[in-house]
Symmetry: C2
Subunit: 216 residues, 2 copies
């Protein structure tokens, strides 16, 4: 078995992204679950590993700590070239990173568990308020994402051409999260089509939340 360790939570969208990339690259790893709702990520033993107390955190074979899902995925792509998760030429790489970051910087961070929990504790938000907040930021991001994907001849079966990559990983993980909050995907046929192509792939299936050891 590999000596690579992934600190992880089945439902975390950023953990999900890293699992997909590891599966695509064929990297075996120990899966260590941290139940975010039970606060297991804030225990001293884990904070000693990752001071940020967030998942995912990857411990590479040499013991190096890596956090931040996009940084981890770019590291995997630079050290294990096949299959590539980014195109070769700078304009295409920029396009894929832009599409990925539209999700990873503008949608997910505003909607993750700790932010939703803060809305409840600081502002007394209820379940409906939280669901509306989640859907609002998804729609703010998915509207322009759909437009950019639909308008570009560079969009293929996947976000960029005919192979899944970094942007598709972020897209599929976000669409999975959306389902828990009842996001209507009708306005986003291109995103839905790309997601369907992603989830048909074995790597995406193995990495799916419901297929992890800590799934509920």
């Amino acid at each position: 078995m590999s000596d690579i360790v992934l600190h992880n939570y089945f439902r975390s969208s950023t953990s999900h992204r890293v699992r997909i990339a590891l599966e695509m690259k064929g990297v075996g790893y120990h899966y260590i679950p941290h139940h975010l709702r039970h606060g297991e990520h804030l225990e001293a033993a884990y904070l000693a590993v990752n001071p940020q107390g967030l998942v995912p955190a990857l411990i590479w074979s040499d013991g190096m700590l890596l956090t931040q899902s996009l940084a981890i995925i770019e590291f995997l792509d630079e050290t294990i070239p096949e299959p590539p998760l980014l195109p070769k030429d700078p304009p295409s790489r920029a396009r894929v990173r832009m599409l990925a970051q539209m999700i990873a910087c503008d949608i997910h961070p505003v909607n993750n568990l700790r932010v939703l929990a803060s809305l409840r504790t600081l502002f007394g938000a209820g379940d409906q308020d939280v669901a509306n907040w989640f859907r609002h930021w998804v729609n703010e991001g998915f509207g322009p994402l759909e437009k950019l994907l639909t308008a570009s001849p560079e969009t293929g079966t996947f976000c960029h051409g005919e192979a899944a990559g970094l942007a598709d990983i972020c897209l599929a993980a976000q669409v999975t999260s959306n389902a828990r909050f009842g996001v209507d995907m009708t306005p986003y046929p291109t995103i839905a089509r790309i997601n369907a192509a992603c989830v048909a792939l074995p790597a995406f299936q193995k990495a799916a939340p419901q297929n992890q050891i800590d799934a509920e």
Copy 2:
């Protein structure tokens, strides 16, 4: 004059990052201000350029639209190699991207203008609530960032060694934003020291919010 265009707002932290990178790389550009508080970024003419209606958006010399500050900065680094904004070896690149994304994915998105405005309209948050929210997420991120920077022998005058790069750009732009919300920097001596080294550099000075044509 260059035919590169940067759609921009002097006070936007993500715009600030891209301006620093452009100055470091010596790229001239037309500065087109969009006053976010007046909603100028949501006008039809700008939405036709950038469907996301956010700044920054870079129009490259060939007309290509690029958004997302980290994607833009990596593009600049791949097309204009000197001075490098990322190290050469994958583990170091991963470390710099991780440090950058701890700010760009975990602090800034939760604290940007549109999120703060939503706290006011949806939950009736007042000035003090908004300032507390801002400071909370900065402290959540800067605590572990300070620990990681202080613990690593790879930290030098800057986040990674003796030259400013991607992580320093994010760090300096965040520290600038912090000042508007009265974040106490006392617990973060390493971050403060790195920021001081950054703002002593001409590129960081030229890119500073107060030195832009739309500064108030």
